[in-house]
Symmetry: C2
Subunit: 127 residues, 2 copies
DNA sequence: TTCAAACTACGAAACTTTTCGTTGACACTA
DNA sequence: TAGTGTCAACGAAAAGTTTCGTAGTTTGAA
């Protein structure tokens, strides 16, 4: 049975992004990557990873002295979790409203538009 | 010039929803409505409204002894703000990815699908 | 006019988040 | 082997969030 993990905070997501994009990484590696876009101390990164470990948001390999962390959930799962949260609380469950607002905030690329149409077709067929 | 307001917390959004759906309301009215879906004390609602007032998320009319609060931003503006936040932090700016995940979390209604297609057409034309 | 109900404001406790300094273990090297 | 650098753990400060209790004011009713 899959346990429900807590919603990651913004700082946590910033580190999860590194793990999603780069794969399992040591604290130092995560810190180096995160430092490229934000000013953050090494022990701060370590602490956040430890907190996420306690929450179950990441797992780690302690075989070597230098631990290796990995995200517990794939990026897509977390994306769906966060969208579901927003959908319930701010869009009263209306996926259509959310989609339309998203498209008005930032236009998707031509390729993405094609994919979206394809997905819409599939949904229509199911109905 | 429009100042950028802070991202509301989940508890704050819960109260903003009442103001969006019902229009300007007194603390008691917001409390009564919020109590329908969650267990929360009157002074807690008052405090959260006062905090949001300090943050600029709500405004209030103090003409009468019983203050009347109203949301500073329309629901759509807040929706866009929160989507933009998610887009930047969790979807690396890809609106298409976000839209597709949203549609896979919860299918939109047939009417919404039609509207979404219409919006896609408009975006295509602009390109 | 006095009393109870309705309000706001204040403060504070309990948590959570965010950030880092310090400590002690380990390991490589001169 | 002594010194330097790397690492995880710990603790704790500062800020933000969430939740109420209490106090003091105003208003309306008996």
């Amino acid at each position: 049975m899959k346990k429900k993990l807590p919603k990651p905070t913004d700082s946590e997501v910033a580190l999860l992004r590194v793990l999603w994009q780069r794969g399992p990484r040591t604290v130092r590696e995560v810190w180096e990557e995160a430092s490229r876009t934000q000013q953050i101390g090494y022990t701060t990164v370590l602490k956040i990873l430890q907190i996420m470990l306690a929450k179950g948001l990441v797992e780690r390999d302690e075989t070597d002295r230098t631990h290796v962390y990995r995200a517990a959930l794939a990026q897509e799962e977390t994306q769906r979790q966060l969208i579901g949260h927003l959908l319930d609380r701010v869009f009263a469950g209306s996926a259509g409203k959310l989609v339309m607002q998203a498209l008005s905030v930032k236009k998707a690329s031509r390729e993405e538009l094609v994919q979206i149409r394809k997905l819409l077709d599939e949904i229509e067929e199911e109905k």
